[in-house]
Symmetry: C2
Subunit: 118 residues, 2 copies
């Protein structure tokens, strides 16, 4: 579990600190950002992410998440996998349960290009 390195590495400074208002996105940056935004392009995934982030301790086990939605457990599992593959969350098994936790750096990477410089 905890698949990292699903996305190619990026020049952190390029994506992180240069709002796209200043200079056009390169093809590679656009491709990676698009992959991450795509993970956020579903209402259930957004709610999952916010449930995880706002849960006490900053983490939530799948059992806390399933049942809060009108979709089946395999569907929740699928959405969690999409979030994980996009690098937005991490998962860790502890005993019977699997805990998910948000990766704040990933969110920051997405927010950065959206912020218009003053």
């Amino acid at each position: 579990m905890s698949k990292q390195a699903e996305l190619p590495l990026l020049d952190q400074t390029a994506v992180c600190c240069a709002p796209m208002v200043r200079e056009p996105l390169g093809e590679a940056d656009a491709a990676e950002l698009a992959r991450m935004f795509k993970a956020l392009s579903d209402p259930i995934r957004l709610r999952l992410l916010s449930l995880i982030a706002s849960h006490e301790g900053g983490e939530a086990c799948v059992c806390d998440l399933t049942g809060r939605f009108d979709v089946s457990q395999p569907t929740i599992s699928h959405h969690l996998k999409v979030l994980r593959d996009a690098g937005l969350v991490d998962s860790e098994r502890r005993g019977t349960w699997v805990y998910y936790r948000v990766r704040p750096a990933a969110l920051a990477r997405l927010a950065a290009p959206l912020l218009t410089p003053a």
Copy 2:
């Protein structure tokens, strides 16, 4: 042109100022945010947005955009429509050309929930 009101109105303060780390997203908020993120989930649309935003005057006509990509003109037109329907850009016809311009408030609305509070 310039279709507004494609998205239902939202409580501005709820979406805008409450990072989802604090409290879980409501269903309606999640649905609208997902629609906007979906518009950003394509590399071509991200590059289009950054080209428009970084273009001099903060606006670009379609003729500045077509030809910078390996896809046909109708495809570019389609992607611009997606961005417009999501409320991320505005378009205006002036004479022969149609100019697109980013709506900074929309970008800010997307960035807000991603920012983790200190």
